[in-house]
């Protein structure tokens, strides 16, 4: 047990005591110190999020990419493509209402590939039954925490181009 009556002990004996009861205290103190450091790390994480929130999130710019002909997509038809890189699978749908919409194909829950259900007119994730609206990509049901990232499309004549990705839409 450490007391103030042992001033001539070397410093290292405080951390590596040969006395069993004292050692238990040291272990608890060190464990507490570790927990406080972890707490500080999480505080730093929260402050980082706050900092990023004040800065605002911006959508990066990507080069336009040709993704096919508009006339080839009838209502209920689907086209798969990759944008902005070959590792980013996307899905383009001509919805029941005739609207042309494209989204990232990765489910926002655990990145499974979503597919279009023509009967239900919605995008479905087969892994955990997360459903998204085909009209705007918002979550209809299931565990996905946020909408599918939206791929911006531009029609030049009959040609379709992907021109950007919008990720930070408000939760609906």
């Amino acid at each position: 047990m450490p007391t103030n009556t042992k001033p001539d002990r070397p410093l290292w004996t405080e951390e590596f005591s040969v006395y069993a009861p004292e050692d238990k205290f040291v272990l608890r103190r060190q464990f507490s110190k570790f927990l406080v450091l972890t707490s500080f790390g999480m505080l730093a994480g929260n402050v980082w999020i706050l900092f990023r929130s004040f800065l605002g999130r911006s959508n990066p710019k990507y080069a336009a990419k040709e993704i096919g002909l508009a006339s080839q997509l009838q209502r209920g038809d689907v086209r798969l493509f990759n944008y902005p890189t070959n590792n980013d699978p996307c899905i383009m749908v001509r919805t029941r209402s005739g609207k042309l919409a494209a989204y990232s194909q990765k489910c926002t829950h655990l990145s499974c590939a979503v597919y279009y259900s023509k009967n239900e007119n919605r995008l479905e994730c087969p892994c955990h039954e997360g459903f998204f609206s085909a009209e705007d990509g918002t979550v209809l049901q299931g565990p996905p925490p946020r909408p599918l990232p939206l791929i911006q499309i531009e029609q030049r004549g009959n040609q379709l181009f992907a021109i950007g990705v919008v990720e930070n839409r408000e939760k609906s």
Binding site: P2, F25, R28, V36, L43, N46, I49, L50, P145, R146
Partner: protein, 76 residues
């Protein structure tokens, strides 16, 4: 060994154990808070960032206070 001193040591250890247990609980709450704030931020909802950071600061101060408490018991 002095039985009174022994009893005092035992009680101190109990108090320290309680403080460490409380510290762990605070840490679990802080971990949940960080996860929830990050989830909200990634969903585009930035309104949760400020209250999240303030609450996290309070929890950190609580953890630090408990550590000081454990340290003080060790040193006395």
């Amino acid at each position: 060994m002095n039985p009174i001193l022994n009893e005092v040591r035992k009680r101190r250890r109990t108090v320290v154990d309680a403080a460490v247990a409380f510290l762990v609980i605070l840490l679990i709450v802080q971990m949940w808070l960080l996860t929830a704030t990050l989830e909200a931020y990634l969903a585009g909802n930035t309104g949760a960032a400020l209250p999240g950071a303030m609450l996290s600061l309070l929890l950190f101060l609580g953890c630090f206070g408990l550590y000081r408490f454990v340290d003080r018991i060790y040193r006395t």
